[in-house]
């Protein structure tokens, strides 16, 4: 996998091949597979994301009872046509809830890049396809873009909350989704990298502080924020607003912040929201289950 977004931008310029193609060729080299096979596999991931979205059960709650049924509330709010954010962003929010609540309820999802952040990329991509009618090929290419960005983040920093806090999970997912959205809007590699940088910058320092150690509170709602942040980062980019700090350096900043983060804020279920009186009470109730 590539270790630098700058390098991917240079390669797009030198070879004339789009960002997604460079990522795909690298995958074929690394795993020794044909382009058709790699493409079919990536398309299967997109299909699985759509299936997870369709499979949401509006009445189901997680084993702990902490999450579930929120996407239904969001759907009803959308139908009432009273959303401040408008219907399209409302749809993105609803889809982020659908997939991440399904995850909490032990349903099948696609880790992207992790299970805890699985709602962000599908919320952005599927909503864009439904809104603008992109083809399956275009969606698969966009998914390569998201994977390429995630690969660079994995190489330079980390993708696990236990390693770098929530910035590494929701932050990375949001950066990946922003890049994928910009690709679908016709952006080039530099714009893709810029959108990823803008999205990640907004989430630097975010702690991983799950209540009772479960992938539920605040994870489910942070998926919504990650998805909406990806949309605004894509719009900022397409409006020509550029990150003053280069994308690779933003990722390096995420790494250095993660390294400074106390263990209590890295998926141990001790600090932050998990350590509030209510968080502690929920943990104690769970221990008695």
């Amino acid at each position: 996998m590539y270790k630098s977004l700058e390098k991917l931008c240079e390669m797009e310029k030198e070879t004339g091949k789009p960002f997604w193609k460079i990522v795909q060729e690298d995958d074929c080299r690394e795993r020794g597979v044909a382009e058709e096979e790699s493409f079919a596999q990536m398309h299967a991931m997109y299909t699985a994301m759509r299936e997870a979205d369709a499979d949401y059960d509006e009445e189901r709650r997680s084993a702990s009872g902490l999450v579930g049924t929120e996407a239904k509330k969001m759907r009803l709010a959308r139908e009432s046509k009273n959303l401040l954010c408008g219907d399209f962003i409302g749809k993105v929010m609803e889809k982020a809830l659908r997939t991440s609540e399904s995850n909490a309820c032990m349903k099948r999802i696609v880790a992207a890049p992790t299970a805890g952040s699985c709602g962000v990329v599908p919320a952005v991509l599927i909503s864009l396809q439904e809104e603008k009618g992109f083809t399956e090929e275009q969606m698969t290419e966009a998914l390569y873009v998201t994977a390429g960005i995630g690969g660079v983040i994995a190489s330079r920093a980390f993708l696990a909350g236990a390693a770098g806090g929530c910035q590494a999970e929701i932050g990375s997912a949001s950066a990946m989704a922003a890049g994928g959205a910009v690709y679908l809007l016709g952006g080039d590699a530099r714009q893709i990298a810029n959108a990823a940088a803008l999205a990640l910058k907004n989430l630097l320092g975010l702690a991983c502080d799950p209540v009772a150690g479960l992938v539920e509170v605040p994870c489910v709602k942070r998926n919504v924020m990650g998805a909406v942040n990806a949309m605004t980062s894509a719009d900022l980019t397409m409006a020509g607003i550029m990150s003053r700090i280069p994308p690779d350096e933003v990722i390096d900043a995420m790494r250095s912040i993660g390294r400074c983060m106390h263990e209590d804020l890295r998926e141990t279920g001790k600090g932050g929201l998990a350590g509030t009186p209510t968080g502690v009470k929920i943990r104690e109730q769970m221990a008695g289950m």
Binding site: M45, A48, K107, R108, A154, V215, G269
Partner: protein, 219 residues
């Protein structure tokens, strides 16, 4: 790590370490036993014990013992499936000392009476590491066809085993050696680039100084 570790795997939630990793540990143990499990004693340690219920770690592990994959929609109902399959399961807590926080000890008995004891950890992102097999150190991730040889610590054993693999054109990706004491019990963990033919495994089992051969297939 490859591109499909970034977008993927397709898995049953909620946690790659506490759910998908637990399925994989159960599945690897089932394959190492090489026959359906009749009795399973499961001992959860650390974070697996503390947050396992909410993450469905128990259901995931039992699903793996039944041979399910990480994306099997049957994972949440694995206890009922185990009952139908005639597999008895007991689950307890254990303190494995300074083992990885997401560790589990398994004591398995197969339908023909074969036994297997394994300690393994879920180390993040759905990746696992087996740490002990039948009471001896043996570290491997379960991503390659893996031969685990329990033998007597004596000169020439490693050469004979690797020569046999070489003759059947099996390339070794990684190999580790452990022993309890000089001249005592020893273990070879051999991760291979392709499947090892059954006839070779049988030959290994009959070699002088070899006590037990366990094999993890990717099939």
């Amino acid at each position: 790590m490859n591109l499909f570790d970034i977008i993927g795997p397709v898995m049953v939630g909620p946690s790659s370490s506490h759910t998908a990793g637990a399925v994989k540990i159960g599945r690897v143990a089932r394959k190492l036993l090489a026959e359906p499990v009749q009795n399973a004693k499961v001992y959860f340690h650390g974070s697996f014990l503390a947050t396992g219920k909410g993450h469905g770690t128990d259901k995931a592990l039992v699903a793996g013992l039944l041979g399910m994959q990480v994306d099997d929609p049957g994972i949440p109902e694995s206890f009922a499936a185990a009952e139908r399959a005639g597999m008895s399961v007991t689950i307890e807590g254990i303190d494995l000392g300074d083992a990885h926080p997401n560790s589990v000890k398994l004591c398995l008995e197969g339908v023909s009476g074969k036994k297997l004891e394994m300690v393994a950890a879920s180390v993040g992102g759905g990746q696992i590491q087996v740490q002990e097999l039948d009471g001896q150190s043996a570290e491997f991730g379960g991503d390659y066809p893996t031969v685990i040889v329990h033998n007597v610590d004596q000169p020439g054993c490693v050469t004979e085993v690797t020569a046999l693999l070489a003759h059947s054109s099996v390339n070794i990706a990684a190999m580790q050696l452990y022993r309890a004491s000089r001249g005592g019990d020893a273990v070879m963990v051999i991760e291979c680039d392709r499947e090892v033919p059954e006839v070779i495994l049988n030959c290994l089992g009959q070699m002088n100084g070899i006590k037990k051969v366990t094999y993890l297939t990717m099939d």
